[in-house]
């Protein structure tokens, strides 16, 4: 025996093992570090940003990167680095919170529908179908009319749309799992339905869920940009990466740095998320090799 039985046995679990495996995966660790740095920088932005996000210097106009302005300035003479840093606050927050909302609702909805099956499943999935069919814009506009413009509302609105696909993915996973013998074994052991869902079903759906999550976060960030562009999300002079990219596209030919730097930031986030997602998926699957 390598280690004393009691201490290790009680502490070891899927999540702990996953963490040990993740630590050995360099790409995932890189992704994790990048995300961590981005988050820390975003948190500290009000204190470390070189300029104010709304300070305009019309005399300056759009200037390419220089010593004073590392990433250049936009057409109003605002410092790009500062705007990207402030933009990160919004984009990361929307990305993570809206995705978390989608994740929680989607997993619960999908696993209950898939596991219970029958009429409950039919009703729950028809609701999903209806939500799918509802034009997204109308839904958002309705929310805006009822609750007024609010950044929290943005999270709710995006989360409320993104969970639909998650629910479908989880449901199909669960339906395949439900017929497995180990679920029947859990039944015969006398576990309650909820215990079976929590302990046996959800952990086994994690693979596709994690992959889909890493795809959802960037698409949520772009969705925020789209809404902001339409005047429903963030308003200038506030910024977000999506918004910066949108304005950057307009002036791409004259002032390419206005597109390039926010673009690089978003791509870097995307890469980091994908590496981390792949690493997590492998780490959470005990069957993937241990080394």
């Amino acid at each position: 025996m390598k280690k004393p039985f009691q201490t290790t046995a009680q502490r070891s679990s899927l999540w702990l093992d996953a963490w040990f495996k993740l630590r050995k995966n360099r790409m995932a660790l890189f992704g994790f570090s990048v995300l961590l740095i981005l988050c820390v920088v975003s948190l500290l932005t009000p204190w470390i940003a070189p300029y104010s996000y709304e300070a305009q210097d019309l005399m300056l106009g759009a200037t390419p990167p220089s010593v004073a302005h590392w990433l250049g300035t936009d057409i109003f003479g605002r410092d790009m680095l500062t705007r990207i840093m402030y933009g990160g606050r919004v984009s990361l927050m929307v990305g993570f919170i809206a995705t978390a909302v989608a994740l929680v609702i989607g997993i619960l909805w999908g696993s209950i529908a898939g596991f219970v099956g029958g009429r409950v499943d039919a009703v729950m999935m028809r609701i999903v179908d209806i939500m799918y069919a509802l034009p997204f814009m109308i839904f958002i506009v309705l929310l805006m009319v009822v609750f007024g413009r609010n950044i929290l509302l943005l999270f709710v609105a995006i989360g409320a749309v993104e969970w639909l696909t998650m629910a479908r993915i989880v449901r199909s996973q669960v339906m395949a799992l439900r017929k497995q013998e180990f679920i029947e074994a859990a039944y015969s052991m006398g576990l309650s339905r909820w215990a079976i869902i929590r302990r046996h079903i959800i952990p086994n759906t994690l693979g596709p869920v994690i992959v889909y999550t890493t795809l959802t976060i960037p698409s949520v960030m772009l969705l925020e940009a789209f809404l902001s562009f339409l005047g429903l999300g963030i308003q200038p002079p506030q910024s977000s990466w999506g918004l910066l990219i949108n304005y950057g596209v307009e002036t791409m030919e004259e002032y390419p740095w206005l597109l390039i730097f926010p673009g690089i930031t978003l791509s870097l986030t995307l890469f980091a998320l994908n590496f981390l997602g792949d690493g997590l998926r492998d780490a959470l699957d005990p069957r993937a090799s241990k080394d």
Binding site: A9, S12, Q180, E181, A185, A186, P286
Partner: protein, 536 residues
């Protein structure tokens, strides 16, 4: 000179964890009209040795490290890819284990049969569709398909497993091969079907004068069909001799171990049944399923009006072929499949009328062991978690004592304590079944339904698991419903046996009485189909 002569074949797998010597210096030969059986447990390299001859192995990781395979004057191991393709189509054919997955579900079997005839690699030998059809129909007739003319246009799903294997044999024979490799062709089939297929292979071999290599894990199956036997273990030859000598004059300890593991004869332990005490009473149980494939909406009668009772302390055998409803019955007794009618009593309680919440309190007493130890364990839970879950959930152990109890369970089912933190995929099939058994006995049940607990296991492992089950039943005073399609296994451990066919009870008697004097024709047929344990 033999048709195929293999000398010093070595196939290694270069994996991340080092080199695995799957086949390590194997030599054998087979002549026209002769059957060579290659026998070994899973992982012994018996299939790899044959697949390497046909270049069917994934390379890498597989590397043929050495050897010569002389097929009619040609070395199979060094011939070109094109030549190999010709050989595979025309001279060497292979039949795989699972007839369900070896046929294309989107094409009629006729279409699949004539394909090699109308796209023959040598243009001069190509047939037109009409001629190919006639040829294929003749062949279907030869392998025992009834109404071959109309069945020609049927799809694979319209055939039963045994019929599909016949179609596979027909496909293998269509280009008149001189060597036929059968890779466990009857393992997925019922015992009566197995007997028919074995007879067919033997008969075809004699009429067509082909050489047959028959790969099997089951010495019993081999006994009636092979001329020579090669016993393999861990990639090495353990013994190679005529079938008669291997069975009666074996020189190898390993072969002797394999032979002794074949269940045969009656149960040696006395029955633990307590007279007059019925623990489980099944009366007029019916379990029907909706059949969505037929339009008349008549249900599938999986279990159709069955009544019997199981005495406290006995091992009650339930045998039948696939589709006979025996597994459904086991699940219905445990209330895992809803009853359509009838009742199930456990001691004095009618458990078939309890609601799910009331039932939950009974579950710990009624447990189940499943057939497939690969599917019945949660792949994301360690052994510790799997065994601790029922203990903690039913408050049999608290957080302080659970580790100790898990340890005790692992000792009881013969698992090494140090593997407590491993996941199911890190174990072999037999060890996994031990984990599953450990989970079933964790709640200290009184009654266990064992649904084919050893059918997925090698014969030596099977013997060990059966011994474990027997000793647990004795020590813990268990009552067991033992479901199996393997009559020899049932005979070796059960006190009474019920025979099921198409949802109905055919015969029920004490094991030895049933064996001595089977009353119903179906039972007689089943008993006759058991492959002889020794060559005649």
């Amino acid at each position: 000179m033999a048709l195929l002569e293999v000398n010093n074949l070595k196939v290694y797998f270069h994996t991340r964890n080092g080199v695995v010597k799957a086949v390590d210096d194997i030599s054998f030969s087979v002549n026209s009209g002769e059957t060579l059986a290659i026998v070994g447990e899973s992982g012994s390299g018996k299939s790899v040795s044959c697949y390497s001859l046909l270049d069917l192995l994934p390379k890498p990781p597989a590397v043929i490290e050495g050897g010569i395979a002389n097929f009619d004057g040609e070395d199979l191991l060094s011939c070109s890819t094109d030549r190999m393709r010709q050989l595979r189509g025309n001279h060497i054919a292979i039949i795989f284990q699972d007839p369900m997955t070896s046929l294309n579900p989107f094409l009629t079997i006729g279409e699949q049969l004539i394909e090699p005839l109308i796209y023959h690699p040598e243009k001069s030998q190509r047939l037109n569709r009409k001629a190919a059809r006639i040829e294929a129909i003749n062949l279907l007739d030869e392998v025992g398909i009834v109404n071959p003319d109309s069945r020609f246009d049927s799809y694979p799903h319209e055939f039963s497993g045994g019929m599909r294997q016949r179609v596979m044999i027909a496909m293998a024979l269509i280009n008149k091969p001189r060597l036929l490799i059968c890779d466990e062709p009857t393992t997925a089939l019922d015992v009566t079907i197995q007997a028919q297929i074995l007879k067919l292979i033997k008969q075809l071999q004699q009429t067509r004068d082909v050489a047959v290599i028959f790969i099997s894990h089951d010495l019993g199956v081999v006994a009636g069909i092979a001329d020579k036997v090669l016993v393999m273990c861990d990639g090495k030859t353990q013994e190679q001799n005529t079938t008669h000598k291997v069975f009666y004059n074996s020189t190898s300890d390993y072969t002797k171990k394999l032979l002794s593991a074949i269940p045969s004869g009656a149960k040696t332990k006395a029955s633990g049944a307590q007279q007059g005490l019925d623990l489980v009473r099944v009366s007029h149980v019916k379990t029907y399923f909706k059949d969505f494939s037929n339009s008349e909406n008549s249900p599938v009668k999986a279990v159709d009006d069955l009544s019997f009772s199981i005495k406290k302390g006995e091992i009650f055998g339930l045998v039948g072929e696939s589709g006979s409803g025996k597994s459904t019955l086991g699940r219905s007794i445990l209330q895992l499949a809803p009853l359509t009618a009838g009742s199930v009593h456990y001691s004095d309680t009618e458990i078939s009328t309890l609601n799910p919440n009331q039932l939950m309190r009974w579950r710990p007493k009624l447990q189940m062991i499943f057939q497939d130890p690969y599917a019945s364990l949660n792949p994301r839970m360690t052994v510790y978690e799997t065994l601790a879950e029922p203990l903690l959930y039913h408050a049999i152990a608290d957080k302080k004592t659970v580790a100790k109890q898990v340890q005790q369970l692992m000792d009881d089912v013969g698992l090494d304590r140090s593997s407590v933190l491993k996941y199911p995929h890190e174990f072999s099939g037999g060890q996994r079944q031990r984990i599953a058994i450990g989970r079933a006995i964790a709640t200290q049940p009184e009654f266990i339904v064992a649904d084919e607990p050893v059918s997925a296991l090698d014969v030596t492992i099977q013997a060990q698991i059966l011994a474990l089950i027997l000793s647990l039943v004795e020590q813990r005073n268990l009552t067991m419903l033992f479901i199996s399609h393997d009559l020899s296994v049932v005979r070796s451990i059960c006190d009474r046996v019920a025979v099921m066919q198409q949802g109905k009870l055919v015969e029920l008697n004490e094991t030895e009485k049933l064996w001595d004097k089977p009353e119903m024709p179906y039972t007689q047929e089943l008993l006759k189909a058991i492959p002889p344990a020794n060559p005649a």
